[in-house]
Symmetry: C2
Subunit: 113 residues, 2 copies
């Protein structure tokens, strides 16, 4: 049984990572998400439940559809864990800083509220 923050287990599966990639940027309905993958709709439904359990997606009911959008907050836990290791590839830390600075200059994408 995998205990600890569920986000680590949630992103272990490649299909779930792909789902996150698919809704990063724009909200999508469950059916729309399912259409992107070669597995059945119920399988996707279960993946979405896991992602919801990890707090990685928000669900919004609209008419007959359920629209899913990204909630990146739990990923900061992964980020925090990686912090302890980032020092080990410190040779490229200045690259990271440059990335950060580039993104700071960029306008906020702003997920729809």
């Amino acid at each position: 049984m995998v205990t600890g923050p569920p986000v680590f287990a949630a992103i272990a599966d490649p299909t779930r990572r792909a789902i996150l990639d698919a809704i990063r940027g724009r909200e999508r309905s469950a059916g729309e998400i399912a259409s992107l993958f070669p597995v059945s709709r119920p399988a996707i439904s279960k993946h979405l439940r896991v992602l919801r359990g990890a707090g990685l997606v928000r669900e919004r009911r609209v008419a007959r559809s359920r629209l899913y959008s990204l909630d990146p907050a739990p990923l900061r836990e992964v980020e925090r864990w990686l912090d302890h290791y980032r020092v080990f590839w410190a040779a490229r830390l200045h690259d990271l800083k440059r990335v950060v600075e580039r993104q700071e200059r960029r306008p906020q994408p702003g997920r729809n509220p």
Copy 2:
């Protein structure tokens, strides 16, 4: 079956993350690692095999012991994946930059060669 980069599955288990935390900093023997956890030594041996499969640990035979040390390289794959999401908590990007700058100023820990 979990395909894709094995590093994501490797770090999904909390015991394996704890093992990485334990050998981050200093090399440890298999038995020493096992002594840190409430599970049997063979269980740890299997976890170490998974970590080796993901390229996260290096093994060095010394006398009767096997010494394990961290190989952080595969974690950069996780880092790279997170890059696409970091923009979504951009409000705190300047914090990250500060962390980076703090670590750049710090002397290199240098894993023994």
